[in-house]
């Protein structure tokens, strides 16, 4: 076993009545890693997180955190985990600093250490000037930042962030993403779930895609993209459309089809054709190009291919 393994879930099963939420789930996370945990609604992400945090016990399999068995009775492991919940879980009738002091105290912090951590966290999430204000006077983004600070105040070794940027303004979202990157640079191990692919691509060093209670794909972004077959698509606007240009494009090796609409050309090639330079050469020889774009597959395509579902319901 890898000695730096922070999380080790092997063949984990969790059932709610007849419904199997985790179906032989295998998930490993190494120290310092930022793992993106993706999956459609009902994939089992929340159940996996609850099991990791010791909020529920699995019905079968092995759940180890920091090399020790995790369960609802193991309080010591929880001391080193920070959970950023999807919903804002701070007390709206207490000030930001009182919230931080309360959550810090639950993890045994007191005195100078508590004061120092609280001040550091307020600074970290950019709420130092709002320390004595109550969250109910905050914007949604500021409340989310306080939510994160409350989960980090005890400086956990493992941070679990469950969709921390849902429903907030772009400025707060950027702040949270930057903060998460800084946290990762300090060596904190992070599990990050999100429905926003661009966030996952920007932050995570590895991605696990879950569906139906198990991990169906795992690897770096490049590895995941390499795991699916796709078509290269080139869009170009020709300065002078002509039948000759169309025929020459069709003749290029790897090109499967050429669709023409006015001056717009959509050239579809088989995966890995690597014929973009040849397409440009033909287009220039036939009067030139006014615009050009290449559609590369992204994580969304990988997700769609593997699960058959869109990540966000509003995109369906």
């Amino acid at each position: 076993m890898n000695s730096n393994l922070m999380v080790n879930m092997q063949d984990v099963i969790k059932r709610y009545g007849d419904f199997t939420a985790l179906d032989h789930l295998n998930l490993n996370i190494v120290e310092g890693e930022v793992l993106g945990l993706l999956g459609p609604n009902g994939a089992g992400k929340s159940t996996a997180i609850k099991t990791l945090c010791g909020l529920i016990d699995a019905n079968g399999g092995t759940v180890e955190v920091f090399g020790k068995p995790q369960s609802v009775t193991n309080l010591e492991i929880r001391r080193h985990i920070g959970l950023v919940t999807q919903e804002i879980t701070v007390f709206s009738d207490l000030s930001a600093i009182e919230n931080l002091r309360y959550f810090g105290g639950l993890y045994g912090l007191k005195g100078a250490e508590l004061n120092a951590n609280v001040a550091e966290m307020l600074d970290f999430v950019g709420l130092a000037d709002r320390a004595k204000k109550r969250p109910k006077t905050f914007s949604g983004g500021m409340q989310r930042r306080l939510n994160i600070a409350c989960a980090l105040v005890h400086k956990p070794k493992l941070v679990i962030m469950d969709e921390p940027t849902v429903g907030i303004d772009p400025q707060s979202r950027n702040h949270i993403l930057e903060s998460t990157k800084k946290l990762a640079q300090k060596g904190t191990t992070i599990i990050y779930t999100s429905h926003y692919m661009e966030e996952v691509q920007a932050i995570c060093s590895r991605i696990s895609i879950m569906d139906a209670g198990r991990v169906i794909a795992d690897g770096t972004i490049d590895q995941l993209m390499g795991s699916i077959t796709y078509e290269d698509r080139v869009n170009l606007t020709a300065a002078h459309a002509s039948d000759q240009l169309t025929e020459e494009l069709k003749a290029i090796a790897g090109v499967k089809s050429v669709n023409v609409s006015g001056n717009q050309y959509l050239i579809v090639s088989g995966a890995g054709s690597s014929n973009v330079n040849r397409i440009m050469e033909v287009a220039h020889r036939n009067g030139g190009v006014t615009s050009f774009s290449e559609d590369k597959p992204n994580l969304e395509d990988v997700f769609l291919t593997l699960t058959g579902k869109k990540l966000r319901d509003d995109e369906v």
């Binding site: 001391r79 007390f91 009182e98 639950l106 993890y107």
Partner: protein, 244 residues
Amino acid sequence: MGVFTHIWKHYNKRMVTRPRNYILYILVPLTIILANFFANIGLNPGGDIMGVFVPASLMVLAFQYLTGEILMYNIFTSLRGKMAERLFASPVKRYTFITGMTASSFLLNLLQSAVIMGVITIAFGVNLGNPAIFFGFLLLTATVSQLIAALVSGITKSRKAADGLYTAIVLIMFVGLEFIPPVSAIFSWITPLGLAWQGIIMNMEGQTTSALINMALLTGITTLVGWVLAPTLLGRRNQPGKHK
């Protein structure tokens, strides 16, 4: 002990930030009871002060039950749904959260009854009988009211439903004692409120043995509610896994 104190202080702080709690649970009852006292004395000048104190003591006990609302508020804002998930993800036992928040409303309850009874005793020179027995009834009422509130929170799905059920329980106990003819209100006399009120009157009249029997019965009911029902139901309802 450290974390328990931390949680207890947290809920105290949340009460302090709401002065309306003190207005609602101490000033209002005190004002109503004192106004009742003065009105009765005015209507019956030179009459027996005990005749005025007997209904006042029932009101003190009934007001003690009101603080159960604070515990239900704390339970519904802290031990349900995602907040419960967040708190239970910390290295603190669930039992510690429940006892910490209960201690806070329990002490407000005792403070309330002690302030009201202290003011009445000093202002009107009422003989309370054996002070230990008298205080015992206040203590038991403070305990059983919190436990019933915890129990009601455990068997209801929303704060609104809990408020409704808890108020109904208290009203049934109170109305049975105050308005229904005693012959048809035997049930009310064996409720926690009835036993405590009866016990306080017996203690004031010097019937110590009878008062102690009532105290034993009340202790039995308190124990039944506390150790058998409330933790079981609270534990079942407040499971993070149940709130997806």
